[in-house]
Structure formats: C-alpha cells, structure tokens
C-alpha cells in the first residue's frame, strides 16, 4: 500500500472513530445521529432481514439502465459532435452550461410524461450522465494524435478499421472517464429521484425512515449505499489506473 493510501486510511479511520466517540458521549445529539457501530449493525440487520432486497435491486436496475443508456447515447452523441462540426458549433454553448442548470427541475415533468414508475428515474439518471459521456468522448476523439491517423492511412485501413483499431483504443482513457462520470451521476440522480418522489427503491426507503425517525434503518441504508457506491467507484478507479498505466506518456 502506498504512503498516500495509508494516510487516507488513517484519516478515514480517525474520522469514523471521532464520530463514534462524539456520538457515544452525546457530544452530538443522539436523536439525530447514532454511532457508526450502530449504523453498521443496522446495515447488517437490513441485509439479513431481506426486507429491503427488492428496493435495493430495483434501484440498482434503474441506475444500471440509466448508465447503459447514458453511456451508449453519450458515446454516439460525442461521435456525432466530432464528425459534425456544424452541430458542435450549435450545441457547444448549451453543453458548456448544461451542468450549471439544475436538471433536477425537469423531474416533475418526466413524472407527468412517464407516470410514477421506473422510467422518470431512468430518464433523470440518463440526463445527468449523458452529457458527461458525450463531452468526454468528444475530448478523447479530439486528442487522438494526427500521426496515428496518418499511420492508419499508411497501413491502408478502411474507415471502420481505423475507428476500431486506432481511434477507439487511442481515445479509450478519455471515454472511460466519461463512463466513470456517467455511473456516478446516474446513481446520484436515480437515488435523489427516489428520495423526492417514488413508491419504492433505496432513496425512497431512506426518505421513509427519515420521516419516521427510524434512525437505525436510515443510517443503515445510507451506510449500505455508501459502501456500494464507494466500492463501485474504487473498482472503476482501479480499472482506469490499469488502463492509464499502460498508455500514459512519460512526458504527460
């Protein structure tokens, strides 16, 4: 383990330890905050009971669907922007200000359009992730060294082969950053959507427990969510590091 990682671990353990002491000694209001050990117990009890399995699976399915659509749609959109400079000139200012606009305000409209089911959640997850994917795809395609494309022509490659064998592998690190962001944004949007208005799901259960002062359930669910998203992020980060360690230029 690297020194920075060790320090990171020490920092996290110290923070959790401080929370444990502060909450057990009632330095923090015990009505609104429970010790991390109790959260862990609550999380384990939730998993063991199986009462929330359907909600967890539903959230995962919605978020996965949103990620899939955002990644596929964002990639195609990014390629279109790269290949069609006129389209890019038209939408560039919109893309630049996209994340400055609170996209969540369209969630009620999506409920009106799709009804109170999984699709408004999938749609909001898609909307959060798609532009990150598109802009990173565009960035990756723009950064393919012209000499690699000239090499492709020198090797008499067809357009399809050039994309498959040169453009995609060369832009993959940037495209992967888009995938990573799309995953994170889609999860945030889906869970937040469930939190605001839904009849089931991870976010809905957290909101329900919160409204009923059921702290062990609420914090247990939050901890489960934190562990899941943290693990997912770590796996994505490891995959990205693996990808980068092979391709990153010494001078970069």
């Amino acid at each position: 383990m690297k020194l920075a990682a060790r320090w990171r671990l020490v920092l996290v353990v110290a923070f959790v330890g401080a929370l444990e002491i502060a909450s057990r000694r009632a330095w923090i209001d015990p009505v609104s905050f429970i010790p991390p050990s109790k959260m862990a117990e609550g999380a384990w009890a939730l998993l063991a009971s199986g009462d929330y399995t359907n909600d967890i699976l539903q959230t995962l399915a919605n978020a996965s669907l949103a990620v899939l659509l955002a990644v596929a749609g964002g990639f195609v959109f990014g390629v279109c922007l790269f290949k069609l400079p006129r389209l890019r000139r038209v939408v560039d200012p919109l893309l630049l200000s996209y994340y400055a606009v609170p996209i969540f305000v369209v969630y009620p409209v999506l409920i009106v359009i799709f009804g109170l089911n999984r699709w408004p959640l999938v749609a909001i997850g898609f909307l959060f992730g798609v532009v990150a994917m598109a802009t990173n795809t565009l960035n990756g395609l723009e950064r393919v060294a012209p000499v690699l494309l000239r090499s492709a022509r020198a090797m008499r490659m067809s357009t399809i082969d050039e994309i498959r064998l040169i453009t995609l592998p060369a832009s993959l690190p940037y495209v992967f950053t888009g995938v990573k962001l799309a995953v994170v944004y889609a999860f945030i949007a889906v869970i937040a959507g469930e939190f605001v208005l839904a009849g089931s799901g991870f976010g809905f259960r957290i909101a329900y427990a919160y409204n009923n002062f059921d702290n062990p359930t609420m914090y247990g669910l939050m901890l489960l969510l934190l562990v899941f998203v943290g693990t997912l992020n770590m796996l994505l980060h490891m995959a990205e590091e693996r990808l980068y360690s092979r391709t990153r230029r010494a001078s970069a």
Binding site: A145, V147, L148, R150, S151, R153, A154, M155, R156, M157, D161, I166, P169, A170, L172, R246, T247, R248, R249, A250
Partner: protein, 282 residues
C-alpha cells in the same frame, strides 16, 4: 573506401549504371485551394524525379519548402494537383500502394500495445501468418536492439527507442519502398548518428528503396546515394547530387575528405534558398 570524384549526376544509381525506376514523379505540383477569400497556396513543384530501385535517396531543402508534401504525394497520402506519380509502374492515387511503408517524424507507436504487438501490427493487417510474423518481429526487434523490450509498452521507452519500434514495424511488413519523413528529427545528435547507421544496415539488409526527408545536410550526405536539393516554397529540385559512396558505408564515411566537399556543395546550393525562405517567412 573507394574514392569517387564529386559529381552531379541526376537520376543515376551509385554505380552510375541505369537502374529500374521504382517510383517516378512527372511534373507533379500540389496547390492547396484558398480558404476564406485567400488565394490558392502553391506548396510544391513542378517536380520530376525517378527513384531507382534499391537506392537511398535523401531530400533536403529549406523549412516549409514542401519536402513532406512531396513525400505525402509519393505515398498517396496527398493527391497531386497536376502531373503523375507512379510506383512500380502503377499510378498512385490518394491511397498508399501495397509495398510502401512510411515512418513519420512524430512518435507513431500505439501506446496501448506492447513493443511486440506494435511491430507486428502492419504484418497482421497484411494477413501474414502468425508464425511468420513471430519470426519477422523477433528478427526486426533484435535488429533494432529492442529484443530486451519485447513486452514493454511505449511509455516505458525513450524517444529513440519508440522511433526504432516504428522502423521495426515498417521493416516487418517487408516494404519495397520506405519513405522516411524526418524520422530522427526529434532525437539528439548521438542517437541520430546511431539511428542513421541502423537505417543503413536496414537498407542493406532489405534491399528496399529508401527516400529520406531530412533537415540535416550531414545526415543526407552520409546516408544517401543521391541527394535532391529543393528550392524554397514552392519546392522544386534545383539539383540532384550523386554522392558516390559504396553500399558498405557507415559513420566513418564522415572522415572521407569528400564528405566535407559534398556537405559544402549541398550547403552552397541550399544557402540562398534558406535565406529566401527566411525572407518569405518574415
């Protein structure tokens, strides 16, 4: 070393006997259409050149005279505006002919592939059987001094080594014409000298025709059978100099008194053109 008096003999091989024409340009020009109301830009020509089979031909000229455009036109990466280009008697039109390999000045290694796969890339594209590719790649990597780095990635190599990977990749496809666009331009002087010797070894071993674009007069004089000296933009051949070196030349050739004579001759031709190019740029 055989001493041959300094002569200027256009379009002849080192032994002064006529050779088969491998690639030919006849009255080739390249004019880029003007954009946004600007007049058309005349980048090259008209140039005519016969590359003899198996010769080492270098092109020197002032910056921006159209040397790389000339290479692109011969390669089929850039279409001539007028005139004809042929390779082995077949017209070249907007597509790189089979049997031609190009090494660029910039690092063209594929960073996602290791050295072995980089070197094998072109041969795999050409459908060469895998066992033969292995033989060719192992030979090429040993030849270029990269055997110990077979499974390294480009990021782990120096600039000179990456350029050797690109040359190995070109070597593995066994080209009949190698076009080198300032392949040592980004390297330090010592590495350039070593790479030049490796290029000579490669040329001798493969028997390919080599055309080298370079800024370095020394490099052109040391490596070439003939040197084409180009004018400032639009580039034309103002003279073709026959060096007369034996095929077994190496860096010791620089000790030959004729090396200095040839270098001075090229520079005397080039100086005025370089000044014109500077004037054009200012």
């Amino acid at each position: 070393m055989k001493r041959v008096p300094l002569t200027v003999v256009p379009d002849r091989a080192p032994d002064s006997t006529p050779c088969a024409i491998h690639a030919a340009l006849t009255d080739v020009t390249r004019i880029y259409a003007g954009q946004k109301g600007k007049p058309p830009f005349h980048a090259l020509g008209p140039v005519s050149l016969n590359l003899q089979a198996g010769e080492f031909f270098s092109v020197v000229g002032p910056s921006g005279c159209g040397k790389s455009t000339l290479l692109d036109v011969i390669a089929g990466l850039n279409a001539a505006s007028s005139g004809t280009v042929t390779f082995e008697g077949v017209p070249v039109r907007d597509k790189v002919p089979e049997g031609v390999a190009i090494v660029f000045q910039e690092d063209a290694t594929f960073p996602w592939l290791d050295v072995y796969d980089n070197a094998a890339f072109g041969a795999r594209r050409a459908g060469v059987p895998e066992n033969e590719i292995r033989e060719r790649v192992e030979h090429a990597l040993a030849f270029m001094g990269l055997k110990a780095f077979t499974h390294s990635y480009p990021v782990q190599l120096s600039g000179g080594m990456r350029q050797r990977v690109c040359i190995a990749r070109a070597m593995v496809v066994r080209p009949r014409l190698m076009l080198l666009d300032e392949p040592f331009g980004a390297l330090d002087q010592q590495t350039r000298l070593l790479m030049g010797e490796e290029m000579l070894n490669l040329w001798r071993e493969t028997g390919a025709t080599v055309m080298l674009i370079t800024h370095s007069i020394d490099e052109a004089v040391l490596l070439s059978d003939r040197i084409g000296v180009m004018s400032s933009c639009p580039g034309r051949f103002i003279e073709t100099i026959h060096t007369g070196w034996s095929r077994q030349r190496d860096s010791n050739t620089a000790l030959d008194p004729r090396f200095g004579e040839l270098t001075a001759k090229v520079w005397s031709l080039l100086r005025g053109e370089a000044l014109k190019a500077l004037g054009n740029q200012s």
